[in-house]
C-alpha cells in the first residue's frame, strides 16, 4: 500500500536528484548537438582523411553501448592513460554527449543530403557561392528535417542520464536506490515516483517534438 505520509517523506529526497538529472541532460544535449553538427558536416567534407576519421568516431560510439563507454571514460582511461576527464559529472556529460552526438551526426548528414538537388541548382543559377548555398538554402531546410529526430534523441538522452548514477552521480535514480535500500517496503512508491519524475521531465520534450514535426512538414523540398 502506498501511504500518503510515505509519499511526503520520499518526495523531497528524490527531488534532490532532480538538479543533477536536469543539469546532466542540458549539458549533454548541448554537447551532443555540437558533436552532431561537427561530425555530420565533417562526414560530408571533400577531404578523405576528415571523412574517414569522423566515421571511425561515429562507428565506435554507435557500435558499443553507452554504459561501456561511460565505464571506459570513468575507470579505464584514467588508469590507462592517466587522463582525468574531470568530475563524474563531466564524465557523464562527455560520455552521453559523444554517444548521442554520433547517432545524431547521421541525422545531420542524412538531412543535408536529402535536400532536393534542384535547390542547389537554383542557388547556383542565382550565383551563390558554395558557402551561401549551404547557409541560405540547404542548411535551413535540412535543419527543419532534423528537428523531430533531434527532439526524439533528446528524450532518449533524458532516460540515458539515469546511467550516471552508476558512476556515483546523485541523480533521481541514485536517491531512489538509496531510499529503497534503506527501507525496502518503500520500493514501490519510490519507483512510482521515479517514473513520474522522468515522465514529467519528458513532457515538455514530447511537446517540443510535436512542434518540431509541424515545423518540419512545412518549408522543405526533399528528394
Amino acid at each position: 500500500m502506498i501511504k500518503i505520509n510515505a509519499l511526503i517523506e520520499v518526495f523531497p529526497q528524490l527531488a534532490r536528484g532532480l538538479g543533477i538529472t536536469v543539469s546532466v541532460l542540458i549539458a549533454a544535449a548541448i554537447f551532443s548537438y555540437i558533436m552532431a553538427f561537427a561530425a555530420g558536416l565533417c562526414r560530408l567534407s571533400k577531404n578523405v582523411f576528415i571523412r574517414k576519421a569522423t566515421s571511425v568516431y561515429v562507428e565506435i560510439f554507435r557500435g558499443t553501448s553507452l554504459i561501456v563507454q561511460l565505464f571506459w571514460l570513468y575507470y579505464a582511461i584514467p588508469m590507462l592513460f592517466g587522463i582525468q576527464l574531470g568530475s563524474n559529472w563531466w564524465t557523464g556529460v562527455i560520455a552521453i554527449g559523444l554517444n548521442y552526438g554520433a547517432y545524431m551526426s547521421e541525422v545531420v548528414r542524412g538531412s543535408i543530403l536529402s535536400v532536393a538537388k534542384g535547390q542547389t541548382e537554383a542557388a547556383i543559377a542565382l550565383n551563390m557561392s558554395p558557402f551561401q548555398r549551404m547557409r541560405l538554402v540547404i542548411f535551413p531546410q535540412a535543419l527543419r528535417m532534423m528537428l523531430p529526430e533531434f527532439s526524439n534523441y533528446t528524450i532518449q538522452m533524458l532516460k540515458a542520464t539515469s546511467l550516471v548514477s552508476l558512476i556515483g552521480m546523485t541523480d533521481i535514480l541514485y536517491y531512489g536506490d538509496i531510499i529503497r535500500s534503506a527501507n525496502l517496503s518503500q520500493a514501490p512508491i519510490v519507483y512510482v515516483l521515479v517514473l513520474i519524475f522522468y515522465f514529467l521531465l519528458a513532457l515538455p520534450l514530447i511537446f517540443l517534438q510535436r512542434k518540431a514535426e509541424e515545423i518540419s512538414k512545412k518549408g522543405v523540398a526533399s528528394q
Partner: protein, 256 residues
Amino acid sequence: MLKPIVEYKDVHKSFGEVEVLKGINLDIYPGEKIAVIGPSGSGKTTIIRMLMTLEEPTSGDIYVDGKNLWKMEKNGEMVRANEKHLREIRSDIGMVFQHFNLFPHMTILENCMTAPIHVKKEDKEEVRERSIHMLERVGLGDKLNNYPSQLSGGQKQRVAMARALVMRPKIMLFDEVTSALDPELVGEVLEVIRDLAKHEDMAMVLVTHEMDFALDIADKVLFLDKGIIAEQGTAREVIEQSDNARLQEFLRRFRK
C-alpha cells in the same frame, strides 16, 4: 558588327559512355530570342545546363562575352575553371527550371530578395522595391508574404521568373518551364514570357514543347536531333523551307 554574347565552339558532352552532344556550334547575340526544339533526349536541357555551369562539357569551349566559361588562364596555361572564375561569368546568366525550384522556407518576396542582397551585395531597400515591382509585373503583387507551398504551379513558375529577373541577367535560360504545369495554367506563364520577350533586351533561350508559341516569339529556332543542331534559322525558314524529314515529322507531331 554586333558580337555574340555566347559562343559554343565544338562542344561535346558525354554521360559515361554515351555521347549526348556531338559538336555544338552556336552563337547567341545580345537580346536574341532563341527557341530550342527537338525530340526527347536530344540534348536540349544539357545545352543550356552547360551554360548555367550545372554541367561541364566533355570537350570544346563556351565563351560568354568573350571569356572562356569552363577554362581559365593560370601561369600562361589554360586550366579547368575554379569556382571563383565560374562565379564571375555566371552573374550574366539566369535560369528558370521545369520544376520551379523555389526555396520553400522563404516567402516569395524573400525568394526574390535573397540573391541580390547576399550575392550582389545590393542595398536592401532598393532590392525590396525592385522585387515587389517584379512580382507585380508577373501578377503576384498580392502574394508577397505567401510561401511557395501556398501557390499554384503557374504562380510558382511566375515567382521563379521574377526571382531570376531581379538579378538582371544578360541571358535568361528557360527549360521547359510549362511542362510541369496543369494545361489550364500554361497560358499565364507563356504570357509572362511573351511580355519579357517583347520588352526586355536580354537574350533568351527557351527549351520548349510549346511549338506554336516558340515559333511565334523566337528570332531564331534550333532543331536539335541526336546531339547535333540539325537545323537552324528563323521560324519561317525552319518550318516552311526545311526539307529535313525528321524535323517535318517532329513538327507534324507537335503542332496543332
